[in-house]
């Protein structure tokens, strides 16, 4: 890591880095800040602000698209930018997804380039590869990003990932790191968690794809490693292993309801139009086809090791009710 500003970590005497975390009040941002704030100086950038934040973290409640953000980079000498503030909510209008994800990210990258930020860490998702019948069982980092092909809502996430790749090539002097984790589970509020917390889980009849799940704390660990280690490039992040969807559902003690694909697709399309689901119909491909990643690179170069076994990860999801916890944590409803 580049030596940070002159300040020294209290007690240790080691130099600290100044790290900006966007989306700090989200679940992953919060965990990452907790993980890093002992050793580093953390600045947060989050439109939502941050309730119950540690005292040593300064948070700017700015929209990442706004000009005000530039001031953070201009006035503070930022060493590392960890960009987590991506909108995954496919119910938002397409133009808002695009402006937030693509334009917002582009602005942040501009600041990083202009104000000499040494490292950019971006949390993408393995879903950018897309779930396709002819995917190899384990996708390497150089596989084409086909996620937006049948699934236009996914387009902005693919676009951001590509934006980072371009930045990686254009600025060889910067350590650009892109992490592509498999389905993140835990107390995060995302597609897989919502799907698995349904009382009866619909599945596609005749299909039972193998899935990778990764616990949020393992993702945070990978982010911390990426922020600390002198590496650059794209890294897939998988959890402790892969298991078929049916086994996942059974181990969570839930019931599945297999429906033929055309029926499920019709139902889901209707539900989407009525606004009662957050899952667009093309996402059903993730319940039919494989989208698993090969994480050998992260293990070799980042030294990433998932700390939780599959069984432990599942036990954790099973014991905590993510829905109730989520409501208590975000009184503002986000």
């Amino acid at each position: 890591m580049r030596p940070g500003p002159a300040a020294a970590a209290p007690g240790t005497g080691e130099p600290v880095a100044r790290i900006v975390i966007t989306g700090i009040s989200g679940r992953l941002g919060r965990l990452l800040a907790q993980r890093l704030h002992q050793d580093h100086e953390i600045l947060g950038l989050d439109r939502r602000g941050m309730v119950r934040k540690p005292r040593d973290i300064e948070v700017f409640a700015y929209d990442i698209r706004r000009k005000k953000c530039e001031g953070v980079f201009r006035n503070r000498r930022v060493d590392v930018l960890v960009h987590l503030n991506i909108m995954h909510d496919f119910r938002r209008p397409q133009h808002e997804l695009h402006s937030w994800n693509v334009i917002g990210t582009q602005r942040l990258l501009d600041y990083a380039a202009r104000y000499d930020v040494g490292k950019v860490v971006f949390l993408s998702t393995a879903n950018v590869y897309g779930a396709r019948p002819d995917n190899p069982q384990f996708l390497a980092e150089d596989s084409p990003l086909m996620g937006g092909e049948r699934f236009s809502e996914m387009g902005s996430l693919v676009a951001v990932d590509m934006l980072l790749s371009t930045f990686f090539w254009r600025r060889p002097d910067l350590e650009t790191v892109v992490l592509r984790p498999a389905h993140i589970v835990g107390s995060v509020r995302n597609g897989p968690s919502l799907y698995l917390s349904m009382p009866v889980i619909p599945t596609v009849m005749g299909f039972d794809p193998v899935l990778q799940i990764v616990h949020e704390e393992d993702v945070v660990e990978a982010l911390a490693l990426a922020a600390n280690a002198p590496v650059r490039g794209v890294f897939n992040v998988a959890g402790a292993g892969a298991l078929p969807l049916s086994v996942l559902i059974r181990t969570l003690g839930r019931r599945s309801l297999p429906l033929p694909y055309p029926v499920l697709k019709a139902l889901l399309t209707r539900a989407w139009e009525m606004g009662v689901t957050e899952m667009p119909a093309p996402e059903l491909d993730f319940l039919r086809y494989p989208c698993l990643v090969d994480d050998r690179r992260a293990r070799a170069e980042l030294g990433y090791r998932p700390r939780r076994s599959l069984r432990e990860t599942l036990d954790l999801i099973r014991s905590g009710d993510p829905y109730a916890e989520r409501l208590s944590r975000h009184p503002d409803g986000r």
Binding site: P133, F138, D208, P258
Partner: protein, 302 residues
């Protein structure tokens, strides 16, 4: 690691599972449980704590399938197998002739290696890209250890010292009509590059009988396109008897495993050189086929 033989509740889709239990119960276990244990032991490496391998293979599922495939192998097709003794341990690539419209040749070769080889091997066939889109079929294949035929998958399996089965003719081979039977089609060279790269011995396999089991008089390109299938055969019974017409006729099947071929060289060599090696494999299999064909009386032997 889980005991692969432990009952684990439904291992695949429940309908498929119940059906297998039913068929398995009806066919009985033939009192061959010791061998069954050895087959499960062969499948037991590289399983996660839930009893699945990274490709979704489940020994518990394979156990349910064994009675069915043993019936097909021993009773229905009365398979006669030669050459299972010479098969190398560790990573190995079986290369066979494809034929018979439905990929039952892969199933029979895998069954031969499970029932006849000592110790038994689990063979992972590399299946057509079309298969993963088929409900139930794709599930059945994956749980039995069959894998999408992608070079990355083959490399992954060979690195883990597994046995894989490839049909370099691909769809061209399986969709041959009656007139072209047992004439090997052109071989791709991908399998050979992979064998060079991973230093894997190639075992040529000749499979005789299946071209008569589902004899295609012709094939319909239009219907194949409409259904999105790689090929649509017209046989004496298909499509007239609907899917039932694709049921293979109970011919006698012969499988010959040849001596392993070991190639050395640069996997990134010019096409010309690699193609020549691939042609050598092809010629070996063709010669084995011709020889086996001359030896047999006819497809309807007992």
């Amino acid at each position: 690691m889980a005991d692969p033989a432990a009952p684990q509740g439904p291992v695949a889709s429940q309908a498929l599972d119940l059906w297998l239990d039913e068929v398995g119960g009806w066919l009985g276990d033939w009192g061959d449980t010791a061998w069954e244990e050895r087959i499960l032991a062969a499948a037991a490496h590289n399983l996660n704590e839930f009893g699945y391998d990274p490709f979704g293979m489940s020994p518990a599922f394979i156990r349910k399938v064994i009675p069915l495939v043993r019936f097909l192998y021993r009773v229905y097709f009365r398979v006669e197998t030669r050459g299972t003794r010479e098969i190398p341990q560790g990573r190995v690539m079986f290369v066979g002739n494809h034929g018979g419209q439905i990929p039952i040749d892969g199933l029979l070769v895998a069954t031969a290696m499970a029932l006849e080889a000592d110790p038994p091997r689990i063979v992972r066939s590399m299946v057509e890209r079309w298969v993963p889109t088929l409900p139930f079929v794709s599930l059945f294949m994956a749980r039995c250890g069959q894998v999408l035929g992608d070079p990355a998958n083959s490399r992954h399996l060979l690195d883990q010292e597994e046995a894989i089965l490839v049909f370099p003719e691909g769809v061209r081979g399986i969709s041959k009509t009656w007139r072209e039977r047992y004439r090997l089609q052109e071989f791709g060279s991908g399998f050979l590059r992979l064998a060079l790269e991973t230093r894997t011995p190639i075992v040529p396999v000749a499979i005789l009988g299946l071209e008569e089991a589902v004899p295609a008089l012709t094939r319909s390109r239009t219907l194949a396109r409409v259904l999105g299938a790689p090929s649509f055969p017209i046989t004496p019974t298909f499509p007239w008897l609907l899917p039932l017409g694709l049921l293979p006729y109970p011919v006698k099947v012969r499988i010959v495993f040849g001596e392993p071929l070991r190639f050395r060289g640069d996997p990134d060599e010019e096409d010309e050189i690699v193609d020549r090696k691939a042609a050598q494999v092809r010629d070996t299999i063709q010669a084995m086929l011709d020889e086996a064909r001359a030896r047999r009386g006819g497809p309807w032997d007992r």
